[in-house]
Amino acid sequence: MSEVGQIRPYGGSAPSNLVDVLERVLDKGIVIAGDIQINLLDIELLTVKLRLLVASVDKAKEMGIDWWEHDEALTSGTGRHRDEELAEENRRLRERIAALEENSGSVEKGSGKREPAGASRGGSRESKGEER
């Protein structure tokens, strides 16, 4: 959240809230007719569509409907967010598996089917690398 203290002279590379940027770049700025007649009304329409979509998102979420979260065209922004979440979850699961393997290592060592715990952990880490 923008604290007053964080204000910098012209954002530049500073991460501005996309919505703040959109509402200015799309809705504001001087409007001069271009040669390529991309109808500015279309752009307005687009933001209306965006707003409608988003307005209904609230309601839909309340009802537990979230199909758009799986629609790449609609969630390019949040999609990346979800990828990060998934990556984070994967990392946690891997750690958990590693911890479990470590615990069970002493039991399985005796079976002769597995290598000593240390090597086994190393091995599984390598295969994780390949999975990526």
């Binding site: 204000i7 012209y10 940027v21 770049v25 700025g29 409007v31 001069i32 988003v54 609230d58 922004g77």
Partner: protein
């Protein structure tokens, strides 16, 4: 494919006072395209040559309707405007203003010279600051009866109705506080600024910010008054009651004040 063939078009980001073009040599704009300057008398347009087949009407339209491409384009446009505004007084153009070549851009600079001059004068030495007020009834802590508790001798139905009433009062309270803060904020900040524009409140799902955005203003502030303005916001914030809050963004290039009051400029 298209009748335009494989030519280039001129995408214009902003119009400003002439400055040394070397300063933007490394900067790229939409589609990763480099910038060049088109100057006519005392006005300079900041331009990228873009392939027509990517920026003709059809291509532009589908580009603007693809949220990912739109974001890319919006960020690139904003990036250029931001960079240029550090070098010269700048009037930002709205996204996707495209001409058939630099000669046309020169013509537009000539045709609209008066408008650009007036706007440049208005914006000289000023920046835009965004101020939003949020109301968040949900964040207030003292819900007296947390979950389903009844007072001694109170029926469950009665307890339910009482809790509903309390929640409603809490909400009403928060809205009242928000209304007071909005009024006070606008009064104080208008006194410190040159002009004010109202933007529609932002939707929480889009901005991913907690609470309900109840005021979304842009103020055009003299550069030397920015510190006072921010101090006033800090003061307002420190007096804000529970459940309401105030946030600032910027300084922005004055996008919200680039158009002559409530009128469009046509060719």
């Amino acid at each position: 494919m298209t009748s335009h063939g494989t030519g280039y078009a001129s995408y214009v980001y902003a119009v400003c006072r002439p400055f040394d073009g070397e300063a933007v040599e490394g900067t790229v704009g939409v589609g990763g395209r480099p910038l060049h300057l088109v100057t006519e008398e005392d006005l300079t347009a900041v331009v990228s040559a873009v392939p027509l087949e990517e920026f003709d009407e059809e291509a532009l339209k589908s580009r603007l309707e693809d949220l990912r491409l739109l974001e890319e384009m919006v960020r690139a446009h904003h990036g250029v405007v931001d960079t240029v505004a550090r070098l010269a007084v700048t009037v930002p153009l709205r996204l996707a203003t495209v001409y058939h070549g630099d000669e046309r851009v020169r013509g537009v600079l000539r045709a609209h010279a008066e408008t650009f001059e007036a706007t440049l004068r208005e914006l000289t030495g000023r920046v835009e600051l965004g101020v939003k007020v949020y109301a968040d009834a949900g964040t207030r802590s003292p819900v007296t009866e947390p979950s389903g508790g009844s007072l001694p001798g109170e029926s469950r139905g009665r307890a339910y109705l009482r809790r509903r009433k309390e929640q409603r009062e809490l909400r009403d309270d928060t809205w009242r506080r928000a209304a007071v803060l909005c009024e006070r904020t606008d009064e104080v900040l208008s006194g410190l600024s040159h002009a004010r524009e109202q933007h529609p409140p932002q939707n929480a799902a889009l901005s991913e910010v907690p609470g309900e955005n109840v005021m979304n203003h842009a103020y055009l502030v003299d550069q030397e008054r920015v510190e006072d303005f921010l101090a006033a916001v800090r003061d307002l914030r420190s007096h804000a009651r529970e459940g309401v809050r105030i946030e600032v963004s910027g300084p922005w290039v004055p996008y919200s004040f680039a158009s002559p009051r409530s009128s469009e400029v046509g060719v």
